[in-house]
């Protein structure tokens, strides 16, 4: 029977999931992020499928995407949601009798999430058992449920006390923006949009539409093939001059560390932003903010933190108020209901203080808690 493991963060859910897997090993595991979702043994999507494909697959394939069209792509270049869909596709072709998923379904858009849950719910008919942790899901009908309630206080976070200073963020303009990955498909073509400060915008679109790509363009990590960004009408090119406007929290928190420890990360960012005359809060203020996120010391080694704590720490720069625009890419992944609500309220406080915010989430409950305007990616354009 399929099993749903429920409870808040740090209640022992993941340990229970791993124990469930070990009892059934070899079994398929889809972890929260790519390194635990994909095998890491393949250079292409076609090879990833070949690693898992059984000589004679015994069940119907789960194929929400045309993976033949993806066959030559490198798995890490797929979006987070596409990687999860690829992992599920590989499982459906394999001969594993059990699969466990640790919050990875939270990366899927509504349609793909429903498809995935429908497929997993038919496990009995297809000859496999399932265990799932998911913060946005109630126990599906016909599944057994295990509820965890005790919470470790080690990484307890309290976002209610965070109060950013006032800010006069500039109007952000995107003008005739075009972007195409080298040798890949077009993501944007002559996209135009104007974003006003003091507001939150929810960027939506199916998995692989280019949401993370837009964030990378705004942060200067990628440069457009055509078009420009403006701040209050003046041209702004972070891909040339460096980013001084957007505080980015990436989907995978490990995409944003600049040092081994938190203190090292802070010192390097402080030095880099000083060049743009952007001043950060003092170390004392940052330590207080970090404590609100559940971390007690600046000497904390970043890569030794649990993933959920690393994800919370990724919100530090957006919440610190040092930069006028904040960008949050799937900020609630892996976070329990209470933390998601507290984060939504903190974003609301930022926008009421004059900051601009753009966030990507497939979590409707979280988005509904923030007064926002929708921004939709469709047909290589941004529709407001």
């Amino acid at each position: 029977m399929s099993e749903f493991i429920a409870g808040p963060n740090f209640s022992g859910r993941s340990a229970a999931l791993m124990a469930w897997l070990r009892e059934r090993a070899p079994a398929f595991f889809v972890g929260s992020y790519a390194e635990a979702a994909l095998s890491g043994l393949s250079s292409t999507v076609a090879d990833e499928i070949a690693v898992y494909r059984a000589p004679k697959p015994k069940r119907a394939a789960f194929a929400p995407l045309d993976f033949v069209a993806y066959s030559a792509r490198k798995p890490p270049t797929l979006s987070g949601g596409e990687q999860v869909l690829l992992a599920l596709h590989c499982f459906s072709l394999s001969d594993y009798a059990s699969i466990a998923i640790d919050t990875a379904l939270e990366q899927l858009d509504h349609e793909n999430r429903e498809r995935a849950l429908a497929y997993l719910s038919q496990g009995a008919a297809n000859g496999f058992t399932t265990a799932v942790i998911d913060n946005r899901l109630a126990c599906p009908p016909g599944w057994s449920s295990r509820q965890f309630t005790s919470i470790s206080s080690e990484f307890a976070c309290d976002l209610a006390t965070i109060q950013p200073p006032r800010c006069a963020a500039p109007v952000l303009g995107v003008q005739q923006l075009s972007f195409r990955y080298p040798g890949g498909r077009g993501i944007f073509r002559n996209a135009d949009v104007s974003l006003a400060p003091g507001r939150a915008y929810r960027l939506t679109g199916p998995n692989g539409a280019g949401k993370t790509t837009l964030f990378k363009l705004l942060a200067g990590v990628l440069s457009p093939t055509k078009g420009e960004l403006t701040l209050n009408g003046a041209s702004y090119a972070p891909w040339r001059s460096g980013n001084r406007v957007f505080a980015l929290a990436t989907q995978n928190p490990d995409h944003q560390w600049c040092g081994a420890t938190l203190a090292e990360d802070l010192a390097r960012r402080r030095a880099a932003l000083a060049r743009h005359s952007v001043s950060l809060p003092s170390d004392g203020e940052l330590l207080a903010l970090v404590a609100c996120l559940g971390i007690r010391s600046l000497d904390q080694h970043l890569y030794e933190l649990p993933l959920v704590a690393r994800k919370r720490l990724s919100w530090l720069w957006p919440l610190a108020g040092a930069m006028p625009w904040i960008m949050l890419d799937e900020p609630t992944l892996g976070q329990d209901r209470g933390t998601r609500a507290a984060l939504a309220d903190a974003i609301g406080r930022l926008t009421s203080q004059g900051y601009g915010a753009v966030f990507v989430t497939h979590d409707d409950e979280f988005a509904a808690r923030i007064a926002h305007k929708p921004l939709r990616l469709a047909r290589e354009s941004i529709v407001s």
């Binding site: 070899p26 972890g31 890491g40 898992y52 990590v221 990436t250 880099a272 932003l273």
Partner: protein, 239 residues
């Protein structure tokens, strides 16, 4: 052509390039490598450019040292003769052409398998399973490092520590990029080896994925091998 044939051909061409001692012999070997590349029916310009790009830094350095500064070939120094910059230039040309042929032979072999995935290529090699697995793990490590570089660049550019384009700041902060890449590689490797691989027995699945019924060698392999042997023999004869 089979992967085994490509490896054999590449080995013979490289051996020929190492045996050749003058520009004439090397030109014969290069001609054979070019015919082999054209035989793939793929565009060979990128293979030529890549090979040239690999050799160029060494060529510039050697030209500066041997032609510009020393002004004599090593053989002339050993014989304690006066020597000339022309002899030094021939020496540099031979070394660089040899390296170019080695790089190009590998590129040319890969052109013959342009439509193949790495796993299929490794699977079709006639090698013990443990060697094939080691090859796959090596490729996996390379991919992991590339993935880590992408991640680290994203982090450091977004934070303003480095820039997208070439800059002095990038040179100054290059070591931070190396540190971040290293930490990322370790994190990714731990994520896989602690949870994913042991529970799935992912490495065990490679046995099935690497099994292949491709013939060890086919007639095309024998034809190319004969050409490569002829080239190596010519190089030996021209010494």
């Amino acid at each position: 052509m089979t992967p085994n044939g490509a490896v054999l051909f590449g080995f013979l061409v490289i051996a020929g390039a190492l045996i050749a001692r003058d520009l004439g012999s090397l030109a014969v070997i290069l001609a054979i490598a070019l015919i082999f590349a054209l035989g793939s029916r793929e565009r060979i310009w990128s293979a030529l450019a890549w090979s040239g790009g690999i050799v160029l830094p060494l060529a510039l350095f050697m030209a500066l040292v041997w032609i510009g500064i020393v002004g004599r070939a090593p053989a002339e120094i050993a014989a304690n003769t006066e020597g000339s910059r022309t002899a030094a230039a021939f020496f540099v040309a031979i070394i660089c052409l040899r390296l170019f042929i080695i790089a190009f032979a590998i590129q040319a072999a890969s052109l013959h398998f342009a439509g193949w995935t790495p796993l299929r290529f490794v699977g079709a090699l006639s090698a013990p399973p443990v060697v094939k697995k080691l090859l796959v793990l090596t490729l996996s490590l390379i991919e992991t490092i590339l993935q880590a570089v992408d991640r680290a660049r994203t982090a450091l550019i977004a934070a303003g520590l480095i820039t997208r384009r070439h800059s002095w700041r990038n040179l100054r902060h290059g070591w931070i990029l190396v540190q971040t890449v290293w930490l990322t590689v370790v994190t990714i490797a731990i994520g896989r080896t602690r949870d994913k691989w042991p529970i799935e027995d992912t490495l065990g699945r490679l046995d099935g994925a690497l099994a292949s019924n491709t013939p060890r060698l086919n007639s095309a392999d024998f034809a190319w091998t004969a050409l490569a042997i002829a080239g190596a023999a010519a190089a030996l004869g021209l010494r």
